[in-house]
Amino acid sequence: MTAASVRIESVTKRFSGHTAVNRLSMEIPGGGIFGLLGPNGAGKSTTIRLIMGILEPDEGRIVLFDSPHNSRALSQRIGYLPEERGLYKKMKVLDHLIFLGETKGIGRADARKRAQAWLERLGVSDWAQKKVEDLSKGMQQKVQFAGALLHEPELVILDEPFSGLDPVNAQVMKDIVVAIAAEGRTVLFSTHVMEQAERMCDRIAIIARGEMVVNGTVAQVKEDFGGRHVALGFTHDKARAANILADRALIARVDDYGASAELQMADGADPEQLLAALVREGVGLRRFEVVEPSLHAIFIAKVGADAATAPAGVAA
């Protein structure tokens, strides 16, 4: 699969005066994991809903699988987990999954088999005959996750798939997402948790205020961001580092976490200079490492100011 799974061409979407997505263009190639990153209110969910054909773009167009059809006509090839989870509360779990399978055009008997297999895989097969409303939120989310993947779509679109899950369940979902990508299928997921995106994604796009900020493979994005970065871990006497960290000739940007910090060196400054200065001041160090910039650092640097002023009350 070399053709683009999704091609967004200069798409704009406005909601009563507010522009949620502004001339956004990007291409999600077939295969691999694509992360759509952005602060709250950046337009991530709107973009995904535009891709899903739930919303119509005001301008521009979206092409799926290089096909002239919209996502509903292609829905057999697409799996979707919306940000706002929703299931029929009174339905039994197994019946619900069968129904979701049927709406994707799978036959009833086949849907039943697949649903049972998925419930097994997610470890909720004991709950197959229980009503959805009897399940915990996390379990409901797993069921909906299964519903989105039941028909083995070649493009899986997940809106904030890991939010609200405990680490164990998040791990289960992560493994499934990775497995899907390993089969050559495409996963597009949105998140604002950078660490996750950094570890999982082949490609990312960061959007803010409905506009593209950064777009490309993770390695490329880091390279483009440039600069030399140092990760510090403090043990004691951190206060003595204050002056050094404030020295703009040495350090361009500080991301202070308290017990640790991530720094971007100023142009022409040398990490050795920094280490020498810190040792001279008697700052207790647990870690000193020259690193690639984290997505988090890039994200903060690129949209930090924007994020703080992101319009409130608008769904991401």
Binding site: R72, S75, I78, P82, G86, Y88, E102, G147
Partner: protein, 438 residues
Amino acid sequence: MKKIIAVVRREFVERVRTKAFVISTVLLPVFMVAMVLLPALMMSGGDRTSRIALVDASGTNLGQAVSRTLAAEKLGHGGDAKARYTVRVFPAASDQLTAVRDDLIGKTGFSINKEKDGWDGVLVLTDTTLANGKLTYYGSNVGSLEAMTKLQRAVSTALAGVRLAKSGVDAALVKQAMSPADLDTTKVTDGKLTGQSGAESYLIALFMSFILYFAIIIYGQQTMTSVIEEKTSRIMEVLTSSLTPFQMLLGKVLGVGSAGLAQMAIWGGSVFVLSSQRTPLAGFFGMSADAAQSFPIPSMPAGLLVVLLAYFALGFLLYGALYAAIGAMCNTIQETQQYAVFVTMPIMVGFFAVFALIKDPTGTLGVTMSYIPFFAPFTMPVRWSLTSVPPLQLALSLVLMVVVLLACVWLAARIYRTGILMYGKKPSWGELWRWIRA
């Protein structure tokens, strides 16, 4: 198509499985039977022998004649039926009349068996009764129109007999001449006897219009509620990614409608079975076959059942689609009330038109109403049950119904398409118009 069937199946199965469905399916016939049976049982409770004291101050044999006539009245038709009245004559001179009367009235109107020699009523014949027909009845049961009519009829008969006898007419001839007319009614459809009495047609019509009214309102509002539930639970978003709004709307309305149709079929079918098995059934309750015929289970001809179900189906699709559109426009049940009124109103008008129709089944109003698609689901089955409807009229009504139904489904689908994903404020009329035109 496969997807629509999946939606229909889900709506149907999930609805039929609920306790509410099972309970209402069983309970409504029980309720209806109780509504029909209770008054019948209560009236039969009133069918006990009345004890009447007859104060005769006429000075003629009028008292004897009235007493004889009353004593001959029976409570039922059979030979072993109990007498309707037991009568004792108290002859009185005109000047003692008031005293005798007041004494008897003093013993009247106590509950049964409380006062041994008490009376249910005192009938007073004066010396002018024979001439001007005026007499007075004092009793505890004067409120019962039926009892008073019967009493009046009996006394009239006696009075006429005495008058004729006085004019020299032979007593036997008088008796023959005075035997009353007994009117039995039977409905005719298409030149054939249906075996239904007038009372039965009326009962069926009433029963059906109630069922149609409740079923359409209840299932229509269920459609509306379930759209709102899908909106609030946000499952709508998953559904819209794989189903077209038209598929969702049609599947939902058909699914809810078929649950309603199943319920109606169970109800109608049970009436059909009850009416065709009325004789063994009456025997089961220890009634004679004769009593079974007067047992108030209306008979349900197969043709009527078909017309009823057809109009329910069309009517429900029409109103269900409109209710679904309202559900799509709103976010909460409370919000729907403002719009639902526009759908509930025609349903109510249709329902009340049934009463006009029952009064005059061949009148212009009823006939006109049975052509108007919004009212036809209520009026046409009732008209069908009351009179014979020409096939051409039925066909015309059905065609009009289908045309308007399609128009409404189209309109509802336009609103549905935009409405299901709108959260927040309700649309204004202007916005609604834009949704439809878009």
